[in-house]
């Protein structure tokens, strides 16, 4: 069967960027609201809107009946919403609805621009030196660090009054607008990391990403590859911000954020498709 060259009449990337920036603006507005005098007491703290806050306060709540300080019952609703998306569509939350992911994409794009890439050409590897692509021998073990972070936080949550990640949380550092010395340090590390490695936080440290990773294997909505259409051009590998190798063979990789950049860049119609139950 021969594949046809796809005529693009719809850009997934554009829709994604619009949604991502709406989320960023919304999160910033929540942060802004909570530095207004008297506003913090109305409807919970900034942390109440965090999906991972629900994970952090889950075990203490189940075992003691009390929430960790600065968290709120609303955290559970946000967590249920995030898990609901993931249950159906895998780690799509990370690729489409996470403000931190958007900021990392933005930093990576501007790093390339500042280092001389005038315009990104789809499917062509950037000639700039940053963000780096770490060797597999270093990259692979580092990816497991986020599972250790998740484990540390879940165990730690049973012994602390506040959520364990709170003082180092990059979401609070970027959007919280209520800075402490530790959060300034977190912000600096987050920015430096994102300049050096694309989606640094998502790849190596994000405990929410670690929680959602399993859903890529079990979600009914999957990206599927028609191998007889694929000519192994490698465009999808180049565009993958999570650095997944041999994308058509690893479409249910736990690292995939379901951003659909691989589908968007693919020039051969029918090579990559979005399907329910792979039928």
């Amino acid at each position: 069967m021969t594949a046809t060259i796809r005529k693009k009449n719809y850009s997934i990337a554009k829709s994604r960027h619009v949604i991502q920036w709406i989320v960023v603006i919304g999160t910033l507005l929540i942060g802004l609201r909570h530095i207004m005098p008297g506003e913090a007491s109305r409807g919970g703290s900034f942390d109440s809107f965090c999906a991972f806050g629900g994970m952090e306060t889950l075990l203490p709540f189940l075992f003691t009946g009390h929430l960790l300080k600065s968290t709120n019952l609303l955290n559970f609703s946000v967590l249920i919403a995030t898990l609901g998306v993931s249950l159906v569509a895998g780690r799509a939350f990370c690729g489409w609805l996470c403000g931190l992911g958007t900021i990392q994409d933005f930093i990576a794009e501007w790093t390339r621009k500042l280092l001389g890439e005038k315009q990104h050409i789809r499917g062509k590897r950037s000639k700039t030196t940053l963000p780096l692509s770490l060797p597999v021998s270093i990259d692979r073990p580092l990816r497991y660090a986020k599972y250790l972070v998740l484990f540390w936080i879940m165990v730690g949550s049973l012994y602390t009054a506040y959520p364990p990640l709170r003082e180092f949380c990059p979401v609070r550092a970027v959007f919280g607008l209520h800075m402490t010395t530790l959060l300034w340090v977190t912000l600096a590390v987050f920015i430096a990391g994102s300049v050096l490695v694309e989606r640094f936080w998502c790849k190596y440290l994000c405990p929410l990403g670690a929680t959602l990773a399993i859903f890529n294997k079990i979600s009914p909505v999957q990206i599927v590859s028609a191998s007889n259409h694929c000519n192994n051009c490698g465009r999808c590998d180049i565009e993958c911000s999570m650095g997944i190798k041999d994308v058509p063979l690893n479409l249910d990789d736990p690292e995939c954020t379901r951003c659909l950049e691989c589908m968007d860049t693919c020039a051969r119609e029918g090579s990559l498709e979005l399907k329910v139950f792979k039928r």
């Binding site: 997934i12 075992f63 559970f76 249920i80 609901g84 979005l274």
Partner: protein, 53 residues
């Protein structure tokens, strides 16, 4: 069943909002300062688990 990528963002956003609403309907709504926990499923589960701890 094939899904056109055009509909993917709508699916994600709809899922998010529906599950958020389910969460709130289950009783996990925003608490006001001084407010109680209300009567939600997780509280009942926590109360049931309390004798075990």
């Amino acid at each position: 069943m094939k899904i056109h990528p055009r509909y993917y963002p709508y699916i994600i956003i709809t899922l998010y909002l529906v599950f958020l609403l389910i969460g709130i309907l289950l009783g996990f709504g925003p608490e006001r300062i001084g407010g109680g926990h209300g009567n939600n499923m997780l509280i009942q589960l926590a109360l049931a688990l309390e004798p075990l701890t």
